[in-house]
């Protein structure tokens, strides 16, 4: 006997992600999935964004790492509520991990939930977590060919944040090349160029995030 299913293999994840999104939306929490390679500067970017937002929003963070809680400790130092997920070797977060982590967060005390995904440009692309936006973080030291080499993760992202912009003079990173690739892959995505350690370029990225967060609050 043959059963014709014709169903998405990741349907279970997609359904749970949709539930996550509905719960977040209902609670007035704007959720962003932050993806990028290990060492791209995701945590440093979050630290700089929180400093720039300067208490304007009530943020919280879910940290996804294969092991340890180094990043979560950095966020905790800023007084931002944080939940650490250890994926025990898995290369990405999935919707069920977010649902479990959310139980440790008080949505009524949060406006903005940033999920820092596991450092990975491949696997994180396949799993919807229930976020409203996805930001891809790419550092100048990684090279300007990453969008062409890992198109899926760039294609589904709503913003590109180029980090370590202060190192541009020391690399052969061509911002025109990444801009051209993004124009093909994700024409609607915003691009920001920042140096999180010096604070250069952080303000426009923080403003954009705050505006997205506010726009989603008025939509409800």
């Amino acid at each position: 006997m043959k059963i014709v299913a014709a169903k998405k293999i990741l349907k279970a994840n997609d359904q749970l992600a949709e539930e996550n999104r509905q719960k977040l939306t209902a609670a007035g929490v704007f959720c962003v999935n932050v993806v990028g390679s290990p060492g791209a500067g995701k945590t440093t970017l979050l630290e700089a964004l929180f400093a720039a937002l300067d208490g304007r929003l009530r943020p919280a963070v879910i940290e996804g790492d294969i092991a340890g809680s180094i990043d979560a400790e950095r966020i905790e130092k800023l007084g931002v509520p944080v939940v650490q997920i250890n994926t025990q070797g898995a290369c990405h977060l999935d919707a069920s991990m977010i649902a479990a982590a959310a139980e440790d967060l008080d949505y009524s005390a949060i406006d903005l939930l940033l999920i820092e995904n596991v450092g990975n440009l491949v696997c994180t692309a396949g799993f919807d977590l229930g976020e409203h936006l996805r930001i891809i973080v790419l550092s100048t030291t990684e090279g300007d060919d990453k969008a062409a080499k890992y198109p899926a993760i760039f294609q589904g992202s709503h913003a590109l944040v180029i980090t370590k912009a202060d190192l541009l003079p020391h690399t052969n990173f061509d911002t025109r090349r990444i801009a051209a690739d993004m124009k093909r892959l994700a024409p609607k995505a915003e691009t920001f160029q920042v140096a999180a350690l010096t604070g250069e370029g952080i303000a426009p990225a923080a403003e954009w995030l705050a505006a997205k967060c506010a726009a989603s609050a008025t939509d409800d």
Binding site: K2, A5, A90, L185
Partner: protein
Amino acid sequence: MHELSIVEALIEQAQKEMDRAGHRGRVLRMELVIGRLAGVSCDSVRFAFDLLAPGTPLEGAQVHIAEPKATCRCHTCDAKLEIDEITIRCPHCGGIELTIEGGRELLLQSIEIED
């Protein structure tokens, strides 16, 4: 290596389909559709399946994978071409205004159960 989680989800889904149809038998064959642009390696899927299927009704099932290509339509030369991998230039004229469709499928198409 997220193929492992994909195959986990696949096995769960196949078992759900069997429950729905009220079947408890052994799965003989399974048809999957994995598009060329899905970012999923078919070899890794087969490898993960051999690791995860034992002890489930899917143990020993033959896995058939269809790998549809994507279509790339060029707005400059109007060419409509099948592509195996993502491209940002038209393979025909080098144009950069492209619409790429399909090739991202990740589907459990069918399962064949022992009568």
